[in-house]
């Protein structure tokens, strides 16, 4: 049950983009084309899930035993950067086709605040290793859902005729607001069921 609850929370009720404001730069920057949005989603799902695992492991076996929690931020960012680097090398060697599809997105992910954010949220919520991984996956799925939806919408903007001052970020933000208005409807979902 907790599995479903964390998953639903990450995807719908506390969607990273629409409710938590995490990973916005990439969300706005990489959603102009549908195919790139899909590619980035794949990379984020992969990295965020396992980065959560690695960060949680690091927390449990290094930071806590040695009382280094105050260095968490610096430790996590290094862990994530290293992990992304390793993934890149690993994929390049073992799965060239996957590397080709995700490769260009991987370096961008280090600075995607959603990844570090997910790891931080795991600590804040005391999720541990297993649930931390699930939460990472859930957050990544939610982020991907958001960017895919947004890319679909943005494809329609190829031909729209609007004042110059609205183009780009203003329009993207206003539409993200409208989308998040829709996602408000999910608030409290399954709260009663899961109590």
């Amino acid at each position: 049950m907790q599995f479903i609850s964390i998953l639903l929370a990450g995807v719908l009720t506390s969607n990273f983009i629409f409710m938590q404001y995490l990973g916005l730069c990439a969300f706005v920057g990489i959603s102009e084309q549908f195919e790139t949005a899909i590619g980035m989603s794949g990379a984020v799902i992969f990295v965020m899930t396992f980065a959560s695992t690695v960060a949680a492991l690091f927390e449990q076996f290094v930071l806590v035993p040695f009382g280094l929690e105050y260095l968490r931020t610096i430790a996590y960012i290094l862990v994530i950067a290293t992990f992304v680097q390793l993934v890149e090398i690993f994929l390049k060697k073992t799965a060239p086709s996957l590397y080709k599809a995700l490769g260009i997105y991987l370096p961008l992910i280090t600075t995607n605040c959603a990844v570090l954010g997910a790891a931080m949220l795991n600590v804040k919520n005391n999720y541990g290793i297993l649930w931390g991984t699930v939460n990472g996956l859930a957050g990544a799925l939610g982020w991907s859902l958001a960017i895919v939806i947004f890319a679909g919408i943005r494809e329609r903007w190829k031909f729209i005729d609007i004042p110059e001052v609205l183009k780009g970020f203003p329009l993207a933000l206003i539409s993200t607001g409208l989308m998040s208005l829709g996602f408000l409807g999910f608030s409290g979902l399954f709260k009663t069921l899961l109590k």
């Binding site: 549908f34 895919v148 939806i149 679909g152 919408i153 494809e155 329609r156 903007w157 729209i160 005729d161 609007i162 004042p163 609205l166 329009l171 206003i174 539409s175 607001g177 409208l178 989308m179 208005l181 829709g182 996602f183 408000l184 409807g185 999910f186 608030s187 409290g188 979902l189 399954f190 709260k191 009663t192 069921l193």
Partner: protein
């Protein structure tokens, strides 16, 4: 004389239906529901509907003047948006609620994207969702008792129904003798309007049928607390805003899929999300959010749910053969 002959590309005749005509049909279809609202809730209803409609039209006019675009209030789409928004509001809301809702609907949800045709969420519903999030108290408690028009305390019949109670006689529900938003109380009036739109070929039957069917079926399964397959689908559909949403909101051309099959999916999806929010979410009713969320999914549905083109089977066969041959 001959040199004045007009040269154009074929076809040389056009169907009678125009955008303006379609919007006018929607306005006509909303008349029964609006009249019912005024009958049950009196001058309050009239002032809310007038405020929402007038401010929607005014907002469209002023925005288009401000950005120096052709003024399109003549196509009645702003009036439709305003009227629809008004019909989703409780009768006793302060008048700034419809005004702010309409301005938000027209300017933020529609015009900044380039006006009619390029907005991606239903403006009326976006407006409603905005005022619902802005002033939740007004939006969930400003009820009036029908006919007597005194302030009503207590929950709407939908609330009672979700708790497993009978929630009033079917006759009262059909006529509209119950608490509720202006346009959602009288089922008969909405169905009358919906039937008119179907008859005039303005809306596709697939969306309302799929929507209400899914909702009714879901209510039948989950509608009774603590027991499965014992719900009352009829009341589940008549209570709340599902009818108004299914006929007038989900069928909005701009924000629903263009393909027939896509529209069926839209209806089913909206039905499922309505159920989800109604029974397992924070909000008493999920119609607004369900349709808004399906609006978001519409570009994806349009992208992936496309009809198979004429002669597709031949291409598919050729591809299969090529694949087998390649092995």
């Amino acid at each position: 004389m001959a040199d004045k002959l007009l040269i154009t590309s074929s076809p040389h005749i056009r169907a009678a239906k125009t955008v303006r005509g379609i919007m006018l049909d929607v306005v006509i279809a909303l008349v029964p529901a609006s009249v019912a609202a005024v009958v049950f809730f009196g001058i309050k209803a009239l002032s809310v509907l007038a405020a929402s409609t007038i401010s929607a039209v005014l907002a469209e006019y002023l925005y288009e003047k401000a950005v120096r675009r052709p003024v399109t209030v003549g196509d009645f789409s702003a009036a439709v948006t305003g009227l629809l928004l008004g019909l989703t509001l409780p009768p006793a809301v302060p008048l700034y609620v419809p005004v702010v809702g309409s301005v938000f609907a027209i300017v933020v949800a529609k015009q900044v994207f380039g006006g009619l045709g390029t907005n991606f969420v239903n403006p009326a519903l976006a407006g409603r969702a905005f005022v619902l999030a802005a002033w939740p108290l007004h939006m969930t408690s400003a009820w009036l008792n029908p006919l007597t028009m005194d302030a009503a305390t207590g929950a709407t019949p939908l609330h009672a129904f979700k708790g497993g109670q009978a929630a009033g006689s079917l006759v009262d529900l059909l006529i509209g003798n119950r608490l509720g938003s202006l346009g959602e109380t009288s089922a008969i009036a909405i169905i009358l309007g919906g039937a008119y739109l179907l008859m005039r070929g303005v809306i596709d039957y697939r969306i309302p049928v799929a929507y209400l069917g899914t909702l009714g079926f879901g209510v039948f399964i989950f509608g009774k607390p603590g027991a499965l397959f014992q719900g009352d689908p009829l009341r589940g559909i008549l209570l709340g805003g599902a009818l108004l949403g299914a006929f007038f909101m989900a069928t909005d051309y701009v924000t629903s899929p263009v393909t027939p099959r896509g529209r069926t999916y839209m209806g089913i999806g909206a039905g499922l999300i309505t159920l989800l929010i109604r029974y397992w979410g924070d909000y008493p009713e999920g119609v607004t959010y369900a349709i808004l969320l399906m609006n978001l999914a519409t570009p994806l549905i349009d992208k992936f749910v496309v009809p198979k083109y004429y002669g597709y089977a031949h291409d598919a066969l050729a591809r299969r053969k090529a694949k087998e041959g390649g092995r």
